[in-house]
């Protein structure tokens, strides 16, 4: 346990830039962009005598007072979404970080031969691989959630403070939002992310510990080349194998499942199809955890663990340094 703890710590020493600074800087940039947007809105509004608000001539504060409960709920949802949007942006950056981290995790030290140093210490290859998986799908997402929550709260404050200049009471508006629910949603998504990302993490790490050079190329070329062949056979009229299924359930799962929220894609199609009103209720844990009832996530996780077992084997026996 102590060994794994220090191994994870080691990963963060090495990848401080990707795991810590990338989400922090993304959050800061996000806030700055929003601030710039608000300031330019205010300045332009003042310059052209244009009032902030849904209706010309009507004060935004009185407008909010005149909303019925249903509309107020929508305002709350909009605030929740605004809070989530920061996490969304940070997540995208984070997904790229994790993707390339996994690809390099067991390859970079073979390339620069520092593997010989790590292998001179009493560390099992299982512990090494385990620590890298933990860093990628557990600790890094926790950092992302912390950054996302802090940025989201800062965003919310930014909006309400801006609106308070227009006579809207700070607390009345904040009371409409559900920051705890949003935070709960983000934290609760971490275990799901772990399960969901396993096939991609497994595949990328397998390529990382197996390939003698250019792990990126192998990781992408193999599934895509297979897919092109399957699509081609389909095109030629052979109906034995559905290429859509392959692209969606194999390629997407081994390459893009490091993007958080991928498990919502089915529910998204059903619930958001024609009724955008539901968007506020969409980002809930019950919606997320519904995916656990589908075999998809479990098969993917099992495949990911199998690939990680292969990763450990290659880490032990790949002899090229």
């Amino acid at each position: 346990m102590k060994t794994v703890y220090w191994l994870v710590k080691r990963e963060f020493w090495e990848h401080r830039g990707g795991f810590i600074w990338a989400p922090v800087i993304t959050g800061i940039v996000f806030l700055i962009l929003n601030l710039m947007g608000i300031v330019s809105g205010e300045v332009l509004g003042a310059r052209h005598g244009f009032h902030f608000g849904p209706l010309e001539g009507e004060d935004i504060a009185s407008k909010i007072r005149s909303l019925d409960p249903h509309q107020l709920q929508q305002v709350g949802s909009a605030l929740d979404l605004a809070m989530l949007s920061s996490s969304f942006l940070i997540s995208v950056v984070f997904a790229f970080v994790v993707f390339f981290y996994c690809l390099g995790a067991l390859y970079d030290d073979r390339r620069d031969r520092s593997i010989l140093f790590w292998k001179s210490l009493p560390i099992s290859d299982l512990a090494t691989v385990l620590s890298k998986v933990i860093a990628a799908v557990l600790i890094a997402p926790i950092i992302v959630v912390i950054c996302g929550v802090l940025t989201g709260l800062a965003m919310l404050l930014l909006f309400t403070i801006t609106l308070s200049f227009h006579g809207v009471s700070l607390w009345s508006l904040l009371a409409l939002a559900h920051p705890f629910q949003v935070v709960g949603f983000l934290i609760g998504s971490i275990p799901l992310y772990l399960l969901w990302a396993l096939p991609t993490v497994g595949w990328l790490m397998l390529c990382s510990s197996w390939s003698r050079s250019k792990p990126f190329l192998w990781a992408v070329v193999i599934p895509v080349a297979l897919g092109v062949m399957i699509s081609w056979f389909n095109l030629m009229g052979s109906a034995g194998f559905k290429s859509n299924w392959y692209w969606r359930d194999i390629v997407a799962r081994v390459l893009f499942s490091v993007f958080p929220g991928g498990w919502l894609r089915d529910t998204a199609a059903q619930q958001l199809g024609d009724n955008p009103d539901h968007i506020g209720n969409f980002f809930t844990l019950s919606n997320s955890y519904a995916v656990l009832a589908t075999p998809d996530i479990w098969i993917g996780a099992a495949a990911g663990i199998a690939m990680l077992a292969g990763t450990v084997w290659f880490r032990r026996w790949r002899d090229d340094s």
Binding site: K2, W6, D109, R113, L116, K119, S120, I123
Partner: protein, 285 residues
């Protein structure tokens, strides 16, 4: 005396080459063994087999363990320095010490820090900011603070200047080596280590061609400086090697009676490098 390493029938094939060809040897505890051979002779393969870094055929026992199946346990007792450039470039001195101290059960932090205090290294320095010589100082400090039974050094001083090289071996002898420890070292800079070796192993084309301790080597091999008029007589004793210097011939004999040789001229113990060159004649031809 217990053998630290026992190999019997050790073989290793790469795709189109034989790196180790049915090699058998024993290394007792408390020795400093020089494993010496030309490039591609199989030195590194032999070391990798001992360290469990590669698969092989045959029997190999290191400290009572099989390096293939019990590697994780073995590495608590074995240390190695592959060459100077294998410390990760991003790591800081402080992080390296913290890491090894918490990972390795036999690491002595105070010893490591005392050793580093004698260098110019600072805790926040990263490996990528260091010269090759400084990297090896750090690596040596980490390794010397580990109370291991076997230390394997594969070209540890490659690319270092002579000051660092001398210091490296001096530290190793003064602060690390004792009768409970065993060191296996490969290097091409034979002259610098010959006085510290207790045993010598020559390897060529995957085979051990010479395995002797230094004392026995002095008895078995002799170098004789022979004047020109005696040269023909000397040649009849089938010398391993002959070279000319200042109009005299220097012959290298293997297993020829020393009294017989004394009649030819002045006898002295051959240097390891001369012996090596004579033994490996024709390797690259």
């Amino acid at each position: 005396m217990n053998a630290v390493v026992t190999a019997s029938g050790l073989s290793k094939h790469y795709k189109n080459a034989l790196a180790l060809d049915n090699v058998s040897f024993q290394i007792p505890a408390g020795r400093i063994v020089g494993l010496i051979g030309p490039n591609g002779a199989g030195k590194t393969t032999a070391l990798k087999a001992i360290l469990g870094l590669t698969d092989f055929q045959g029997q190999l026992n290191v400290l009572g363990l099989d390096p293939r199946s019990q590697r994780d346990k073995l590495m608590e007792e074995v240390c190695f320095i592959a060459d100077v450039a294998v410390l990760p470039r991003w790591i800081r001195v402080r992080e390296a010490i913290d890491f090894v101290a918490n990972i390795h059960p036999r690491f002595n932090r105070a010893k490591c820090e005392a050793f580093l205090a004698r260098t110019k290294l600072t805790p926040d320095q990263r490996v990528k900011q260091m010269s090759k010589g400084m990297i090896v100082q750090l690596h040596l400090a980490l390794v010397m603070a580990i109370d291991a039974k076997l230390l394997v050094l594969d070209e540890p001083t490659l690319g270092l200047d002579i000051l660092y090289r001398k210091q490296f071996y001096q530290n190793l002898l003064e602060d690390y080596f004792d009768e409970n420890k065993t060191i296996i070292v490969t290097t091409h800079q034979v002259e610098e280590i010959e006085h510290i070796l207790t045993d010598l192993m020559f390897i060529r084309d995957g085979r051990i061609v010479l395995n002797t301790d230094m004392e026995a080597m002095g008895e078995r091999f002799a170098e004789v400086m022979v004047s020109a008029d005696m040269a023909a007589t000397a040649r009849q004793l089938k010398p391993l090697d002959e070279r000319q210097i200042f109009g005299k011939s220097i012959f290298l004999f293997d297993g020829v009676d020393q009294t017989q040789l004394r009649a030819l001229g002045e006898i002295r113990r051959p240097s390891v490098s001369d012996l090596f060159v004579a033994t490996m004649k024709g390797t690259y031809a």
